[in-house]
Amino acid sequence: MNLAELQKKLIAAARTNTPGDGVPYAFEKRIMALLPSRTTTDNLVLWARGLWQAAASSVAIALMLGAWVFFNPTSGANASDLSQNFENTLLAAVDQNLQTQ
């Protein structure tokens, strides 16, 4: 038997057999029902998006405050008053002890 010829004939036979492209009824609905739920992913995405937005606004506020401090330095007198008052308050108890001795 001529195997090459037989092979040729059978391949030609297979070529004449074009498969159908019919799709079962409501196949797309079945696929949609089987799609993995994205609820968990959505929550994670929302959470991550919220965090990024918070980080961005925090950086913006920090930059604004930095700029404000840089461009509007408090006067030297006021600054020393503030530090002096802070120091006095903090060391008030020590000062009181020294005075009583």
Binding site: Q7, K9, L10, A13, A14, R15, P19, G22, V45
Partner: protein, 191 residues
């Protein structure tokens, strides 16, 4: 207004799974047609199509939009078919003793008048389907794509993910494997 494929894909990637449905509707005929080349039972065809679409949804993020969506989907479908073939190799060792009468008649006719026998008969189609089922998964994939669908080696390489030299080697082996199977046809009757 109808949304474009790119818009639908973008919407799915943003979490709108419902936008996947028009894609399934549009391309399922192609997916089913491809799956029917590799599976005979309709339940198996549906399983392949379903698996291909679920993979497509899962891997949609890897679609870069450089080639048409259909090409990307066909690559995925062909690879799903190949996986199916590898999982279902049950019929490969079946004997040719159970040839139907029309198949035997066709072979006998071929023996007597090879040129006169028509390939456009149900018997020839059934016989070739039987022979394709006995091929190994890579051989069947290659014979289908190269010989039956008449695709180029380059196209097959793109569809399967194999290199061009590997496709050539597998094509050579597949033809030899097919001839070996044909040689196993009942010798006492046809040789």
């Amino acid at each position: 207004m109808e949304r474009t494929e790119a818009e639908l894909i973008s919407a799915v990637l943003k979490g709108n799974a419902a936008s996947f449905e028009p894609l399934v509707q549009k391309y399922s005929p192609r997916v089913f047609s491809t799956a029917r080349r590799y599976a005979r039972r309709e339940s198996e065809v549906e399983d392949i199509a379903q698996e291909a679409w679920l993979k497509a949804f899962k891997k949609l993020g890897s679609f870069r939009g450089e080639a048409p969506f259909e090409h990307w989907l066909m690559r995925l479908t062909v690879r799903t078919c190949y996986d199916f073939l590898r999982r279902h190799q049950r019929n490969r060792e079946s004997a040719f003793s159970d040839l139907t009468e029309p198949e035997s008649d066709w072979l006998e006719h071929f023996m007597t008048q090879p040129e006169a026998v028509s390939e456009n008969t149900d018997a020839a189609r059934l016989l070739v389907a039987r022979i394709l089922e006995r091929l190994s998964p890579p051989a069947r994939l290659i014979i289908t794509l190269l010989e039956i669908e008449d695709r180029s080696v380059k196209e097959i390489a793109a569809l399967t993910g194999w290199s061009v030299p590997l496709v050539k080697v597998r094509a050579f082996r597949a033809r030899a494997e097919m001839r070996k199977i044909l040689a196993k046809l009942p010798k006492d009757k046809y040789l």
